[in-house]
Amino acid sequence: MRRAGGVLAALLLLAGVAFAILHGQTGTERTVTVRGLIGSEKLDFFNDPAVVDELKARGFKVAMETTGSWSMAGSSLDGYGFAFPSSLPPAEEIRRQRQISTEPVRPFYSPLVVVAHAPVADVLLKNGLATKGSSGVWTFRMGDYLAAVQAGRTWQQLQDTAGHADLSGALYIRTTDPATSSSGALHLAAVAYLANGGTVVSDDASLAKVTPLVQKLTQMQGDQKTSSDGPFKDFLSGIGDPLVLVYESQVAALVAQGRSTGDLVVLYPDTTVSSDHTAIGLTPDGDRLAGLLRDDEKLRALEARYGFRPQADPGAFTGALAGRQSPAVFAPDLSAAGIRQAPVPAFGMLSKLIDAAKGR
């Protein structure tokens, strides 16, 4: 009797496991914990209870540690199941260093944008530095901007700046420190691409050609913050520079979550770079998790709620913003809005570009 009861119990247990597998459910013993090293901008996403629940339903628990995406390539990755920097160059560097042959997964991306308060955007419009499309999407004219920087233009020299106490001094876009932060580094890549006549910087000759401009743009800013959260918070608090470079996702997350962005205007540089949030599996579980972040419909909707654009689901981003009233207008489709993507130099050349910008 006892033995038969034991067999019966075992059978029931097996049936339960089979049920769980077939239905994608998990008992606690089926959940694998994956350690991930992620860029800090994705921390809120991974902490969201809805994200935690969906990952759990798919058999994962993620233990996160955060670091600057740019420094991730230099970190020890032993013991991690996946790394998730916010752009491709450090991801490529990690794959090279660890000789990883599987394709990196890019679950979502977010373009770099310029933010300005509404009266400042109007000044840019009047001076031909920005345009506003019929759909309300603003475009920032990078070529004209860089020409103004090269000419040493100040805000006071522009039309219609009288009465704006915050509009004085040199015209420039405030960025983060390119040596520590990918937004600052990717912006330099876009500038260098334009300054090199629409060709990616790939050798020392073209590097020398663009060095004066990238150096000027960096040194005129003086002290730069180490990550993109700082300049954006300064902007929202009403201090800081008139033009600030941020990720679209920083603004879109606030709007998608029904929070105010004040009179903030999103300006899409006509040539920009997107941060390709790239997940690199370091273990088989990490590989599966990376795929899930790209393919799971619920996760994609949640990604959009944090302002990211899911690669495989263009509708998710506009869906998350639908019905939200905000002065910040987002481009549903970047290429349709005429926004070009500048190619980013390889990691080694980008590092040289950063050193050149910092005068090192």
Partner: protein
Amino acid sequence: MRTRAIRRGGLAAAALALLLTGCTGDPKPREEDLSPTPKDGVLRILAGSELQDMAPVLEEARKATGVTVQFAWTGSLDGADTVSSGRADGKYDAVWFPSEHYLRLDDAAKSELVSQTPVMVSPVAVGVRSGMLSELGWGDGSQVTWGMLGDAAAAGKLTYGMADPSRSNSGFSALVAVASAFSGASAALTDADVAKATPSLQRFFTGQKLTSGSSGWLAQAYQQAYRTGAGNRVDALVNYESVLLSLNRTLPAADRLTVIRPVDGVVSADYPLSLLASAGQPARDSFQRLTKYLLRTDVQQRISEQTLRRPVTAEVAPAAGLPTDRRRELPFPGSRAVADGLLASYQNELRRPSRTVYVLDTSGSMEGSRLDALKRAMARLAGADDTRAVRRFRDREEVTLIPFASEVKAERVHQVPASAPEGELSAVQADVQGLTASGGTALYSTLEEAFRVVARQQAAAGDDRFTSIVLMTDGESNQGASEADFRSFYGQLPAGGRTVPVFPILFGEAAKGQLQGIADLTGGKLFDGTGQAAGSLDGVFEEIRGYQ
């Protein structure tokens, strides 16, 4: 177990009192309540003393998140040194200063920090006595420039207090702002900009009549001077907008300040709470819970209402009384060389020179290790090793040494020249090393003599200097004039004499009551050199430099 500031009840009133006691500038952080090892639910933060007014908010944070904050207090620039040298690792989990501008200029310090999270904002502004605005022709103060402030200072119409830029973020921010404005620099300052602005900066600094190691003490000194008449009455204070507005809440109407954010630009503090890269996972979890709480809409609202700083979220309006028109944010220098060069210029060229009198107890009880400690502390001030002009006797400074015991033993006057100061500094060294210990302690008689020396020096030179007296003693006064004698002597000093603060240093068996009385009477501040650690007297002598 938890920190005294955070746990105690009835905190709203205590917070301002703490703010006004202003105790930053200690080269060594004060950390008596700090857990020696990491603990779950505890975040150990090395912080600027400006953050003391966050106590009520952090008490509510503890209830809501279970995270208890333990603070160690230090000055912003000293804190940057602690981080860059790695001395913060393992000892603290996070840092929280008004700004990390200076810290970031050091690559080593910068790489020690992660997750820098601005929590609130306050620009460095100028609070001018409201009654003076109309006589200066400044209307409601909303259109005033740094140039107008400089002109008024140069014309003798405006005096002000400003914290020492080599120590305090508010002083450094103001120095950067005024140098940017006067040089006409359209972007981050360079050495050439600083050189170009030098004449205008010198004019501006003729109005600085009060200096201090911390922004908190400055507010306290202003209040004391008008309430009790002790120390220097100034017309204006350079300080955080939040400190000026908080001070107004405690001042009688006649003494209130109109807060001017110069229209040509400001440098703001954004109070980033930053995790040390060395912190372990439990501290990281506590850090995340706390920062998330502090950025909540309702909490941002409360922070703005209680501290009069500005919120960092767009949906929260700044508290009533905070104007919302924007100012240009002046860029901070991008290199340590420019920043340190600006500080050295301020100390050695731009500010009014100092007249500094050291009254040094060399009675018999000082024999041995005490005299050695005194010699070492004074020798550091006469030494050359001083990266950001934080302690050495400045170019153009007049230094008088008055060693005493039963009577004054000597009066040695040293004029540090405007350039090539090494020879005179060596002469100070020689005098210091020649001190010997013997005799009793005629404290008050010697102090009276120091005031007479100052009066003679002022009369002979006919100049206008930051003038102060440092009084170091290891015992009670047991000879010569009594405390009552000294009070009556002090009461009969001409008005000019009564603007000279005395900074007493408690050492050995000195009588704290006597020394505190001298500090209060003269508008000075008592410093404690009795710490057991070797070098604690060094730290105190260095800290006082911020007030000279």
